[in-house]
Amino acid sequence: MNDEIAPIPKTWRTKVAAILREGKQGSVIIRQRARRDWASLPFCPFDYELGDALASALDDDNLVGKRHEMDETGESYAFIFPYRSVSVYAKVNLTTDEIVIVYSAHRPLKGLELL
């Protein structure tokens, strides 16, 4: 079931941001599609910037998102955040064994609406 748009719980944001910032090997994985979308943004960002950008976005107490049920067990949210001069749509899962999976990181496809 997909919930409506609402503020993303602080506990989830804090945990995911901490894992992203720590950057421990094996604790963060990025779907190939997401990595390619991110790398193709107009300013050609480095790959490391994605983790930092997501972590910074998650620091925002007012960040809203849409909960998604993914195949992988865990808690997933989609949200839109500004990075440099663009908006970025991201979908991130915090799995039950505390792995952060980045499923999406691209320009929003439907304006600023969360899919």
Partner: protein
């Protein structure tokens, strides 16, 4: 059912690395790089981890001509500076420099040019220090700035160019002083700053009016008893050119 970690299989994929153009808003070149990846046999999805993305970033940095983390660290060591010192000199956060040294972050192309100039010895660390100090000075309101007449360098400059407006003279003299001091400090050994400051400004009649020639006084520096009359060392002289627009007719 197996968890994600147990399910994933090791594979190798070819990933595009886009090299930005100099404007930073377009792709100048795309390179294909082979990196290790993970495949989920359940749905065929491919994932990349930190090892792979670090490899991709390294290739990108190399193609952009950025200094590598080990080169950045070596540069700091060669300059004999600590991380806080070099961060202060470049007016950046200490964490930023640390991240450059570890490869966790990369310097911008602009900063990279500056680092190369430092690395190649084309830019004095002492001069950069003086610029950083001047930047701090600008943050101080004009009314709170140190009184100009106490500044011997200013006096010297004002003596040369009579008719300067005091405020403009003060700012320019301060800039000249810091440029000269930065150069002198960069020539000295750590701890010798005061001795190296015992230098002499020579206004050469033959040079254009907006040029100051400075000679360091080797003998004075060695003796440590202030400036003594000595023959200027031609090899240690340097000319500082002042922008024409700073002069008042």
């Amino acid at each position: 059912m197996k968890g994600l970690k147990e399910r994933l299989e090791r594979i190798e994929v070819e990933e595009p690395v886009h090299i930005p153009n100099l404007d930073g808003i377009g792709i100048a070149e795309t390179i294909q790089v082979k990196v290790p990846a993970w495949r989920d046999p359940k749905d065929g999805e491919v994932y990349l981890d930190a090892e792979a993305t670090a490899m991709l970033d390294k290739v990108k940095a190399r193609h952009m001509g950025l200094l590598l983390p080990e080169q950045i660290k070596a540069l700091r060591k060669r300059l004999g500076l600590t991380q806080p010192q070099i961060s202060e000199m470049l007016q950046i956060g200490e964490k930023t420099w640390t991240r450059w040294e570890t490869g966790r972050e990369r310097p911008s192309r602009v900063i990279n040019v500056l680092l190369f100039a430092l690395s190649d010895g084309k830019l004095d660390a002492g001069y950069l220090h003086s610029v950083a100090r001047r930047r701090s000075d600008w943050a101080v309101p004009l009314a709170e700035r140190p009184c100009a007449p106490r500044n011997p360098w200013l006096n010297a400059v004002q003596e040369m160019w009579q008719g300067w407006q005091p405020e403009e003279g003060q700012e320019l003299a301060q800039a000249i002083q810091e440029a000269i001091a930065g150069w002198l400090i960069s020539r000295g050994k750590p701890g010798d700053v005061n001795l190296q400051m015992e230098a002499k400004i020579t206004f050469m009649p033959a040079t254009p009016p907006n040029v100051i020639t400075v000679h360091s006084m080797k003998q004075a520096a060695v003796a440590g008893h202030g400036v003594q009359p000595t023959k200027p060392d031609a090899l240690s002289s340097r000319r500082f050119e002042i922008p024409d627009e700073a002069l008042i007719a």
